[in-house]
Amino acid sequence: MSSKERIRQCLNHEQPDQLPIDFGSSFITGVHCSVVAELRQHYGLEPRPVKVCEPYQMLGEVEADLLDVMGLDVQPIFPNRTIFGFPNENWKPWITPWGQEVLVSEHFKTTTDKAGNTYIYPEGDTDVPASGHMPKTGYFFDTIERIHPDYDEDDLKIEENLEEFGLMSAEEESYWKQQAEIYSSCDRAVSTHLNGTCLGDIALVPGPFLKDPKGVRGVADWYMTVADEPEFVMELFDRQAEIALQNMAKLKAIAGDVIDVVVVCGTDFGTQESTFCSDATMREIWLPRYKKINNWIHENTHWKTFKHSCGAIEPLLETVIDCGFDIINPVQCSAKGMDPQTLKDRYGDRLTFWGGGVNTQKTLPFGTPEEVRKEVLERCEIFAPGGGFVFNAIHNVQALTPIKNMIAMIEAVKEYNGN
């Protein structure tokens, strides 16, 4: 059975021949570039600097040789531009603040201040204010809130928060044609992030890809807008969804048969202890727009729709299902109420759990290899029966994760699979 067939079967809630595994197919199931380097070394792969495929979280590309040796089932097609608005092309070497040599896009332009903090620029344009900031002792960038001097919370304008959402550009179209050709006969399942379907993703709200963002761009400002101006937020999401539908039709025409999984939205609805909003709010503000997007996908393609949300979201999962999502990630079992067995029993026949394989807040970074093995096997026993589970850690594997724990995790999945 090919990886593609395995994933398709699994997503249809049928028992596949083996539990499928993903690392690196999206910006929320990835691996920090420092850990990718250690994995390459561990498996004795050709020594070469890791490509930073996602410069915000500094995720490393899991190249074909690593996909093979780790036995991974999903191939990504990343968007043509990164979160900082530049294409990943013409790779150049860069030494990270922690001393690792990596490859980054030629448009990855940074400056460093006296304190050793690194700044990155939208579209690689150092003439405008930086949009990302990596502290001296940090391992990835965070967005910088650039609040426009004309911003007035009492006079919000939809157009200002719509700036980043437009019809597919000629550049994007030609990129997709190229990618569709490369992966048309890929044996692995193909996953991609849809462009413009994230409704209120807090990583994107500050507009790190924009040179001069206007509108609501502060993180706290955004959350307060949701509470204070729900009509504004709903109109924005409606307009976004309309544009997204046109772009999805174009994407379908170019790569409809190539793609298996689409990451629709990464908006977090949970904190460690609670949800970010009530179920009623999610149903009023988000559900109708998600439904529109997911219904179009299900009526017009075979794609499965992927929703990411960290945190304690168990009280919202019925609504996530009603929104038309097929897949939930990262299944943060360490958050309140996210007990694996409860999740599988209540939602396992309707939602695929893509993640939840091991705790990345505790066990994977700080546990022993045996503790990792034990937890991974337990999760597999709970989530895997009957399909509907793609093995992945809970969110990206972070920097400083011991390589022996990473290997213990992969070996445990292989052990579960009887290999």
């Binding site: 002792t137 706290a220 307060m224 509470a227 202890e273 970010f276 807040q361």
Partner: protein, 211 residues
């Protein structure tokens, strides 16, 4: 004519524009600034904190209440200072070195302010040395350390050790953030841990013995 109850309701519901009208009205009618604080703002934020702990309101609602409270404090604080009234307790707070995520830290700072503490917010990515300087300068009873990331948990441990090694044995160190647990607090020698911004007030008061 507005009442203290109106001010309380406006803060609970996050109505900053109402607050802007009510506070000057109350002051003009002769209500003492301390009464605005003690009888309206502090009880209002206590209710918001309680509702947050009980999952009746969420981060967005808490933020709008915090904004309304700040709006009121901006008017009241200078008057309290004029009258020579200063808070009994001082807290300093910041995210540890390497961590830029401050929503949780900001909510805790607001809740502490909303319970009547003087709160010195050192911001994000704060090295241990900066915490030490601030402790010397402000002589706080409480230091709050926040981190969202697993990669900056070691910086939290180092900051606690630096504060203890500098001889500040009396200052209470409270920690919080998504990956933080009570057992981690015990492990690194912090005096307390709070799982959310609502509980941060309870733990601070308990630690100070004023609960």
């Amino acid at each position: 004519m507005s009442t203290l109850e109106d001010l309380k309701t406006a803060v609970i519901n996050g109505k900053r524009k109402d607050v802007k009208v009510i506070v000057p009205e109350l002051l003009e009618s002769g209500v003492e600034p301390t009464s605005l604080l003690q009888d309206a703002l502090i009880p209002a934020m206590a209710i918001v904190g309680e509702r947050f702990k009980n999952n009746e309101v969420f981060v967005p609602e808490m933020l709008v209440s915090a904004r309304a409270m700040k709006q009121a404090m901006a008017i009241i604080e200078p008057k309290l200072l004029e009258a020579g009234i200063s808070p009994e307790y001082t807290a300093i707070i910041g995210t540890v070195e390497g961590d830029l995520h401050d929503i949780g830290k900001n909510l805790v700072a607001t809740m502490w302010k909303g319970t009547g503490f003087d709160v010195i917010d050192l911001g994000v990515n704060v090295p241990a040395a900066k915490f030490l300087e601030a402790i010397d300068e402000y002589k706080p009873q409480i230091v709050g350390l926040s981190t969202l990331l697993t990669t900056t948990m070691p910086a939290m441990k180092e900051t606690v050790a630096a504060i203890r090694n500098a001889g500040h044995s009396k200052v209470m160190i409270l920690i919080g953030g998504a990956p933080i647990t009570q057992s981690y607090a015990d492990e690194i020698g912090a005096d307390g841990f709070s799982k959310d911004a609502g509980s941060a007030v309870d733990i601070a008061k308990t630690t100070l013995g004023i609960a």
